[in-house]
Symmetry: C6
Subunit: 86 residues, 6 copies
């Protein structure tokens, strides 16, 4: 068992200063960060998350759902960056 900071305590740290990033790829990476951060609001124990990974990373239905979640976060980030139009 690991010792985790309480969710409330973690909120004090600034982890999302802006939605604006330079490139679509950085936006994609931020989407993954946000997707994982949302998971941590419910399961803050990283060790538990890692323990589950082999199972869902080997399950097609879960992986498809992971992509859906990433798409949802990315949609907002892309809009926030005006789709990186030049």
């Amino acid at each position: 068992q690991t010792v985790q900071p309480a969710t409330g305590a973690a909120v004090a740290e600034t982890w999302l200063p802006t939605l604006q990033v330079d490139t679509p790829q950085q936006g994609f990476d931020l989407a993954i960060v946000m997707a994982r951060r949302a998971v941590k609001t419910t399961q803050p124990d990283v060790a538990v998350l890692k323990a589950q990974r082999p199972r869902y990373a080997g399950d097609a239905a879960s992986l498809i759902d992971v992509s859906a979640v990433a798409a949802a976060w990315f949609a907002t980030i892309a809009a926030a960056n005006d789709y990186w139009r030049e």
Copy 2:
């Protein structure tokens, strides 16, 4: 068994005065608040919710779904704040 105010009674309290918040991170936090508030419209008994937490917090599929829900609420909040563009 706990005594809960009826859903109707709870509506009288103001818990969502605005969608405008100062930072993306506050928007993220508000998304979590709204996601949980929506759950309470169906299950107002906090004790029941807490009792379920160990189970779904240890289930990858549920955690992925939690992230999808957070993304959905965040999308609206981010639009409401014009994506915190400067």
Copy 3:
């Protein structure tokens, strides 16, 4: 067994005169109303709905889905109110 008005008959009643409401919280409440109304298009018998409630209200996956549905309805209502920007 309860006697229910046919779905067709229920449509004659005006239950959704507008999407414009005064506050985000009223918008949230309207989202819940619309979410439930959509359920009634398929299951108009309120008694059947109430009978199922203890089961899904005690099931985390269902509650997460409820929040997703509320988010979807709220997104449209919030846009309809220009996000209650001042």
Copy 4:
């Protein structure tokens, strides 16, 4: 067994002349029509659909999904009507 027109033949009929309707409630009704029409592209036999109804109309998870689908169609219809703003 009922005789059904082929999907291809059904397309010839005009069932969706416009997305513009007078009121939000008519928009809601149109969302239900479109949701059902989409189902028919995969299962055109109305008798099969009716036979399934008692089962899914008594299943909370299915009913929650029905509401999600209605919300998705309604979102587009509402945008198409500029949210019936006055």
Copy 5:
């Protein structure tokens, strides 16, 4: 067993020249085409798809999901056509 062109080969063919169509109903039909085309990126063998049809076409949960997918594709097509506003 049928002989299918490889996915890579199929990409060379132009099947989606535009998102602009004349009517909402044509947009609906295009949504179904796109939904099915997306399925083919994962399962290009039409015979396998047809073999599964009786099963999912008789399953309410799958049919509800089909409608959700159609709604998602339609949303983009409708926006691309400015909702066929006159």
Copy 6:
């Protein structure tokens, strides 16, 4: 067992320089690329992904979900290209 670059290492490579593509069909193809890339953030081992393919490619529910995910990525790409309006 294959040797895979770590997820962290893969990020250094530029795979998403832009969301702007010339045609809707190229946008569709990019949606599939993004959908798969999101899967790889969780399961970077291509061999594991390929091993699962026969199973989910033969499962209607998974295929419907694949289409939903493609629609979600495509929605953002289409907006980024102003829907390829002429």
